[in-house]
Symmetry: C2
Subunit: 300 residues, 2 copies
């Protein structure tokens, strides 16, 4: 098995949802653009849709014959990227405890355990190394630095530096910049969420990421924008394992975001700075409280 066809399966599943909406599908290039895959993959998808009697396909005509049934979809787990699979396994191990700082990481063992080739694990570890949680010893193993309090503090230090700067840049953006419309939309989504927070509180993390990414983009600095990947990754897993007072925390965060948005709209740099600081402070606090306060090994 040299390469899984998850790209095809995922695009196929997304393609099935299109069938509900129309009586016939658009051209192959158009479908490709819609689903974000090449024509080659589109044709494989169409071939299967024809085979399973979902559509009648003859050259340009792609007539929908029936609505997709649940069993037409490929199982969710078959649509994941290998690197997603590896990341999840790796993070599970990391957060499952027993992952002490200083521990060695064994590529071969990881690969065997996850059931993938070593190359994929190696590539994952190289990509993952920029998050600052692991480090390579040349010609030898990787070392786990540990998800420690020190890590969280270093991470938030940079985050605060970057976001304060980005927020200031954002507020200074000209009236006619399209970001203001984006901000208005996000504000509306925040208001909606605030109203239904009791039931939809778990939708916050996705909104949170979109909001902060919009702000960081105002910095027009690739290093700042890219650094948000580190934050997003950490918070993604953080949200998964720290469910304590999730509703309350998110409710507070939504309110802080709204204040932050209002400050941005006021273009008053003092207000922006204050609102940003306030929100980042509580974000840091939330993160820190979720970290087991184990002994922190001194970094060498």
């Amino acid at each position: 098995m040299s390469k899984s066809n998850n790209v095809y399966k995922d695009a196929y599943n997304r393609g099935l949802r299109l069938l509900d909406e129309t009586k016939s599908l658009p051209s192959e290039p158009e479908l490709g653009a819609l689903l974000g895959v090449s024509r080659t993959t589109i044709r494989t998808i169409l071939a299967r849709m024809e085979e399973t009697g979902l559509i009648a396909w003859n050259k340009r005509s792609k007539t929908v014959l029936r609505a997709p049934r649940p069993d037409d979809f490929f199982p969710e787990e078959e649509t994941d990227t290998l690197s997603q699979i590896i990341e999840r396994s790796f993070m599970r191990r990391l957060l499952a405890g027993g992952a002490e700082a200083g521990m060695q990481i064994n590529e071969l063992e990881l690969a065997r355990e996850i059931g993938v080739g070593t190359t994929s694990v190696r590539e994952f570890l190289i990509r993952f190394s920029r998050f600052g949680l692991i480090e390579k010893r040349r010609n030898s193993h990787w070392v786990l630095k540990g998800f420690t309090r020190a890590f969280a503090l270093e991470l938030t230090e940079i985050r605060e530096m970057f976001e304060l700067r980005s927020a200031a840049a954002f507020a200074a953006l000209p009236e006619d910049s399209p970001v203001w419309a984006n901000l208005d939309l996000l504000e509306e989504e925040h208001r909606l969420l605030a109203r239904e927070i009791a039931t939809r509180f778990n939708e916050f993390s996705e909104l949170d990421e979109r909001f902060h990414r919009l702000i960081h983009r105002a910095s027009h600095n690739r290093f700042i924008v890219d650094f948000y990947d580190v934050i997003a990754m950490i918070f993604h897993y953080h949200y998964q394992w720290n469910k304590a007072q999730e509703r309350e925390r998110n409710e507070v965060a939504v309110a802080e975001h709204l204040a932050y948005i209002a400050a941005l709209k006021s273009r008053d740099l003092g207000k922006v700075d204050a609102a940003c600081r306030k929100h980042l402070k509580s974000a840091r606090h939330t993160l820190l409280t979720s970290i087991p306060d184990r002994a922190v090994l001194p970094q060498q």
Copy 2:
């Protein structure tokens, strides 16, 4: 050819230099620690030294029989890591012009051109991507973002943010911290270099890196420390292709460093900030003047 033995060859060459100094070599573990390789490699080295009549080897006794001749050494180019080879080739292409922003990077083509496997090229590109010069399109090619003025400005923006913070942290370090001794040593080296700048100006870049790394380490933040890798990489190649007024530039930089060091020693945060800003400003200027002022593609 599945793996070159460059680790062995490099360690062997370094091992030869030890022969000049003593009449007999230390134990295998000791040699391993000295050369930074495993015992396995040490034994391979000793075996060859015995074979070529450099030493007589019998268990613990490793008597030096003769001094190494130039032809005992492995050729320099055989001691390079694969990733070093790839990096050099890649940077040569990048700087040789014709590397316009937006250009596609082809793994297979690169691998063929350099004469290595695709895996190594892929891994290099993944590692290299954190420098912000290339970007991956999922399931497709890499895109060159270009060594543009925008890149240099984004890089220096972060550098300045990080270094100002690190310098302040440095100045606030307690009297008994070992970094002050390190700083004294570096100061001495700067003075020596300043005195002989006419002939030794090309030794500055190495000193420059050590000095700035010492300062960045005071931040105690892995993201700041790691970011210096980006700066070091860029300046490394920058020094290689921009030889205009090298002597003058380095002379100025040494003077600025000495002022910067004096400011740090004064522990006066205002002075530190001023000296740091002054130096960073001229470093940025030097970098910017060396970049061809081509049209800068807007980053999407």
